[in-house]
Amino acid sequence: MRLTCPLCGERDRREFYYYGAEDYLRRPAEGAPLAEWDNYLHLRDNPAGVTKDLWYHEAGCAQWLVVTRNTVTHEISGVELVAERKA
């Protein structure tokens, strides 16, 4: 499996760490009800198809990436830096 890091280029999957769905980027505001935190931390769409998830180029540039990826075919259609993502 190969991922194209926007900075380092195409790299082997072994250089990356996987976190989970991009839901983790939408941190509830301070004081949000616990149900929102449950949504944020635990509940997932978990689609069999295109999803966006978070990878960390741990053995590379140490950037977190949002990867648009198909969970059935593993096709990757986009990779974006978390730090420079468009909202």
Partner: protein, 181 residues
């Protein structure tokens, strides 16, 4: 209090086998220069005093024995020179954090191809390439310094493992070369 004696991780070890030379080398100071948001202009000014600029991703630039090596987003290692006064950046000394190994010789690409999961073909990875990647299970910064020459930065505490793995690989590649004869 006597002067403290400095010691490198591998005490300057070197090895030549099968047309490849592996050696621990001394590269002088290593300084991390990381831009703060909006700091690019100030940083450029500071680096200019050395005649250097922030390098493009995956590259390093060498000038008068100094190198500036891309190591991450808006981050570089300044190698071989004390850092100048520079604003707009976080400056962190990294000199002691790394052991630098030089690998040179005709079979050097073959050796690295056994440990590094990155395409090292010359057109893809020309001289002047800086890779943040791994040497087997260790994080590393790899500089392509020549068609058949590399410098490899690994964490100092792992220098012995890096040496061991490179040495083993060099000997396997040499044994294969013997097979062909």
């Amino acid at each position: 209090m006597p002067e403290l004696i400095a010691k490198s991780a591998l005490e300057g070890r070197s090895l030549t086998l099968g047309g490849v030379t592996l050696a621990e080398v001394e590269v002088g100071p290593i300084t991390s220069v990381a831009l703060f948001p909006g700091g690019a202009k100030l940083a450029a000014k500071g680096l200019k005093t050395l005649g250097l600029a922030m390098p493009a991703p995956n590259t390093f630039v060498e000038k008068k024995g100094m190198r500036i090596v891309w190591t991450g987003r808006e981050q570089a290692f300044l190698i071989g020179v004390a850092p100048p006064a520079i604003e707009g950046v976080a400056v962190t000394d990294q000199t002691d954090g790394w052991t630098v190994l030089s690998l040179a010789g005709a079979a050097s690409v073959e050796v690295l191809a056994r440990l590094v999961p990155v395409d090292l073909r010359l057109p893809v990875c020309p001289v002047g390439t800086a890779l943040r990647t791994q040497v087997n299970h260790m994080n590393a910064v790899i500089l392509r310094t020549g068609d058949h020459a590399f410098e490899i930065l690994v964490f100092r505490s792992m220098a012995r493992t890096a040496w061991h793995e490179l040495e083993t690989t060099v000997s396997m590649v040499a044994a294969r070369a013997g097979l062909k004869i």
